[in-house]
């Protein structure tokens, strides 16, 4: 039974790493700030969620598992808010730039 849990951990963490990689490629390749933010926040939230999901079978105790989930929720919360703040700052910077 434990080999099934280990396999699940490998697959989930691997998928999470793949999403992190996809988010980084999006950051490097997308043309402007808003699309890069989209790539970062979506990929990182899903990537971290998969990593946390994969680590859940390995924790000892329900409390530690709950702590991992709370960490994921906090990262999602701060990531979404930071993304909104950066997007608004970017939009203000674009508006403030004098027309060429």
């Amino acid at each position: 039974m434990s080999w099934a849990l280990d396999a699940f951990t490998y697959i989930a963490v691997g998928a999470g790493a793949f999403f992190f990689l996809a988010g980084t490629i999006g950051l490097l390749r997308f043309p402007d700030t808003l699309t890069r933010l989209h790539a970062l926040t979506k990929a990182d939230n899903l990537g971290l969620g998969l990593v946390v999901l994969g680590l859940l079978p390995q924790v000892d105790g329900v409390l530690n598992g709950l702590k991992l989930i709370v960490i994921w929720l906090l990262v999602m919360f701060s990531g979404a808010d930071a993304g909104q703040l950066i997007a608004r700052a970017a939009r203000r910077a674009v508006r403030r730039k004098p027309p060429a």
């Binding site: 906090l74 919360f77 701060s78 808010d81 909104q84 703040l85 608004r88």
Partner: protein, 313 residues
Amino acid sequence: MIVDAFYAAPALLILGLGIYTTVVRDTFPAIVGYIAYGLLLTVAWVQLHGVDVALTESAIGGGLTGMLLLRASARLRAHEAKARAETPGITLRLLAGLVAAGVAGALAIAVLTRPEPIPTLAPEVAANIASTGVGNPITAVLMAYRAMDTLLEATVLLLALIGVWSLAPDRVWGGRPGPRYNADPDGILAFIARVLPPIGIIVGMYIFWVGADNPGGKFQGATIVAAMWLLTMMAGLADAPPVSRRWLRILLVAGPVVFIAIGVAGALTAGAFLAYPEGWAKPMILVIEFALMPSLALTLGLILAGAPERAAE
């Protein structure tokens, strides 16, 4: 081979990021590189099983220092072009490179020719840790064996705060630090500042409390609490208190004063400054930590808030 890659990958990333931070011309990318460098160092410390150091590195090295650098760069943006125009001459740069290479070489020689087994006091710490009453050997070293160093750290932070306050112009001497933040009260920043501080304060106090037996401690906890306070200030939900207020100054020095008082009491009852009488180690450590934690959080928050910029009224 996988294990080697596990240790080598962060090391290579740290080296690459360090080179980038030094070489890049603009200030903002350099600061971002420095913050990322701090986070990679956190990973390295966790790999070396120094979780307390990793917590402190991410809180103070990555978070606090990064924010101080961002604020400084924002203030200096007007003069950045002029500062960049003054490049030092070739001899000065060669000399600086030689000194840096010499220090790196000395460190490399010291690491590569270390004696086997490495001289360490860890077995003595582990053997006597029961008498200190704490389970975490790092906390035992910080609060019992080398309490003097912790006292000096707290005092140095206070001195740094006085240094920051001394930058105030004469007309706002003793006023409120930092500008008046006018964030939209219905906006995102105010929303974050309402949701995160309760969670952050609990996390900070937990890290402070659990530092007795597990990785943690008051510096890391105080940094998180200070960050939450700064968040509410930057969202406009709270205003920075004027630095001339008496309650503020009493709270700031309360921690170090209690520490020194316990040290003097130790000199009178146990024979040496900061010695703890038999069986009194844990209560004394608790009193010191409870007195020091609010002072530390206030000091760190005020250092980040900056020099007074507005009059006290």
